[in-house]
């Protein structure tokens, strides 16, 4: 398989299993206190030359139930979905094979093409802003300020609420009325000139949705960055301070490299989440006005359940799947490589 994926444990002749073999455990944040230093007094009695024959390898019965459910719910439907993408199935009756017709139709379908562009723009906006805000929040609450525990809870709370409900709340915040919601707030603080029809204006709708998503999940990014920050040993900062490094230099050369694993997780999660985003768009704008905020997820939903074009809809889903797979593999490869050299 691909080299970029997490490697299996190599055969370890002398070294006892320590806390750094799994994927993602290579980063510096995984270091602190994973293995208590006192645990191992004796080395394992016999070097295990063939770990595959190890006494501790559980029988197949352990994995079979998980595999059956996974195959039933994910693998089989996905493979069948790929097959549907090459048919003209309409949801009822028989499906006939139409080759690449769905994909050719996709290239001529302005609605779908708009949704591809929108999905990419939305994902880029969410990934960049959410992670920048999340990092700033994490740095802010990782200091000695007294309200830090409360602030963490406040910033993180929206992430545990259902996205649909957040979307309804923000529909009010984006109310076009001049005195209500965000417009009312802008008016009240003397920024009345900035009032907009946030969701109704086709040039704004997509960005308004992005802002809503960032509001909900910036705290999520914050928490992951916080975990990374807490893995930075204070001695490193002390040493850098003694060497005369200022705040920015300490961030740039001490904190930032140590945040690499947290950044990997954050970027991957926000990218995959952004590409698949459905609930928020569906509830806030339903893709509108026109196709201004249509994403691949909402477009394929409509193709299937509004227009009854199931074959075509799975072709769109396949495009989405390829997007997600390619982007996340490239990201993983790039980011993991960066972690190692950092």
């Amino acid at each position: 398989m691909s080299r970029s994926l997490p490697q299996p444990e190599e055969i370890q002749p002398e070294e006892p299993r320590a806390g750094k073999t799994g994927p993602g455990r290579t980063g510096p944040t995984a270091r602190p206190r994973k293995t208590p230093p006192t645990v191992r007094i004796q080395p394992p009695q016999t070097p295990r030359t063939r770990p595959g024959r190890d006494l501790t390898v559980p029988p197949w019965g352990f994995v079979v139930p998980a595999l059956v459910v996974y195959a039933l719910v994910v693998l089989y439907p996905s493979i069948a979905g790929v097959a549907y993408a090459f048919t003209d199935w309409s949801g009822i009756g028989d499906a006939s094979f139409v080759g690449l017709a769905n994909f050719r139709a996709l290239l001529d379908d302005q609605r779908t093409l708009d949704s591809v562009v929108n999905t990419l723009l939305l994902t880029i906006a969410v990934v960049v802003v959410q992670n920048v805000v999340g990092l700033l929040l994490a740095l802010g609450v990782d200091t000695g300020i007294r309200s830090k525990s409360l602030l963490r809870v406040v910033f993180f709370a929206p992430a545990v609420v259902s996205p649909v409900m957040v979307a309804f709340l923000w529909k009010y915040v984006y109310n076009p009325e001049p005195t209500a919601g965000l417009n009312g707030l802008l008016g009240a603080v003397g920024l009345g000139a900035l009032r907009q029809d946030w969701l109704g204006d086709p040039s704004l709708a997509l960005w308004s949705v992005a802002a809503m998503v960032v509001w909900q999940y910036a705290g999520y990014s914050m928490v992951i960055f916080l975990a990374g920050l807490q893995g930075v040993p204070p001695e490193l900062h002390e040493a850098a301070k003694i060497d005369g490094a200022g705040t920015w230099q300490r961030f740039r050369y001490v904190t930032w490299p140590m945040l690499a694993p947290a950044l990997t997780v954050n970027l991957m999660l926000s990218t995959i989440g952004g590409l698949k985003l459905f609930d928020q768009v569906y509830a806030a704008t339903n893709g509108g006005p026109g196709t201004a905020s249509e994403t691949l997820s909402t477009a394929l939903f409509k193709e299937a359940f509004v227009y009854g074009k199931f074959g075509y809809s799975t072709a769109v889903a396949l495009v989405l799947a390829l997007f997600v797979a390619v982007v996340s593999l490239v990201q993983l490869r790039f980011l993991r490589a960066r972690e190692v050299t950092a």
Partner: protein, 299 residues
């Protein structure tokens, strides 16, 4: 939204100025810390604006919402809440959500931990191939299999049932769960289980008595992350349960909002009621939730 700037004055040790006395350095640091605190609180206040709107509107009569949309409710009314509770049929929805979430979590923990135990200990050859196969499920968008799965659930006669949803959530969240468990198990020494096996346990006993208790931290993470996902999911229950008696909270709220779309006070009261159970649980467990989120995702 740039809370870092005031962090700079907090920096007590500017190079090339070593003559400053310790006390004034500390005082400067304290002022910097106050400034940062003020900025962070200001950010939090701005951040909480939608929540302010949510709560105040839920406490207002429609006429008051029209008159002063942003003012404090004067006098606050609980009428919206009582009305929303009865007309959104939140009671049954809460029960449905609780049943589906609990059963899914149970299955996810059992299947995820046992499966991951196998995959972590047999990390070569076919075992590794299986692990990659599971990881694939994290990347695959579920929309790809949406229609065949719908047909499958329909064919089983499980549309509008608990078991259909539980099966779906277990399958769809297994890859992530297996990923978390496998990463954690790989950091555990195999010796404990080995000792148990030498002492005469079979594999099942070694797992339930020795290994599974060692997995407690990651099991907590698995439960939290999956609970948030399953409880809040909207799309699948809309598809599988929409219109049935087994509707979950997000679906119930969705149709409730659609019905009363113009009455913000009522709609927001419904949202508050629907979000309250999650928020209460979150506030009680927030230390573990935040730790779990961060820790789990790092593994």
């Amino acid at each position: 939204m740039t809370p870092t700037k005031p962090a700079n004055p907090a920096d007590p040790a500017k190079p090339a100025k070593p003559a400053r006395s310790g006390q004034s350095v500390r005082r400067r640091a304290r002022w910097g810390s106050y400034a940062l605190e003020l900025v962070m609180i200001a950010v939090a206040v701005l951040f909480l604006f939608p929540v302010y709107a949510l709560i105040t509107l839920a406490l207002k009569e429609p006429r008051q919402i029209a008159d002063s949309p942003l003012g404090l409710p004067a006098p606050p009314t609980a009428h919206n809440f009582t009305h929303a509770w009865s007309s959104a049929s939140l009671g049954p929805a809460l029960v449905n959500s609780a049943v589906i979430t609990t059963l899914s979590l149970l299955l996810l923990v059992v299947l995820g931990s046992t499966g991951a135990y196998f995959l972590a200990r047999r990390a070569q050859g076919l075992g590794y191939g299986l692990y990659i196969l599971f990881l694939l499920g994290i990347v695959l968008p579920f929309q790809l299999g949406m229609i065949p799965l719908y047909k499958l659930v329909d064919g089983l006669g499980w549309l509008g049932t608990y078991q259909g949803m539980v099966l779906f959530y277990t399958g769809i969240q297994l890859p992530f769960t297996v990923f978390l468990y496998t990463g954690f198990i790989r950091t555990l020494p195999a010796d404990y289980a080995q000792a148990a096996l030498i002492d005469g346990c079979d594999h099942r006993q070694a797992f339930t008595r020795i290994v599974f208790p060692l997995l407690r931290p990651i099991t907590g993470t698995v439960i939290i992350l999956n609970a948030v996902f399953v409880w809040n999911d909207f799309f699948t229950p809309l598809l599988y349960l929409g219109g049935s008696a087994k509707e979950t909270v997000p679906v119930g709220v969705f149709s409730f909002v659609g019905q009363y779309v113009s009455d913000y006070g009522l709609v927001f009261a419904g949202l508050v009621l629907a979000a309250l159970p999650v928020l209460v649980v979150f506030l009680l467990l927030q230390r573990y939730v935040i730790k779990g989120f961060a820790g789990g995702l790092k593994g």
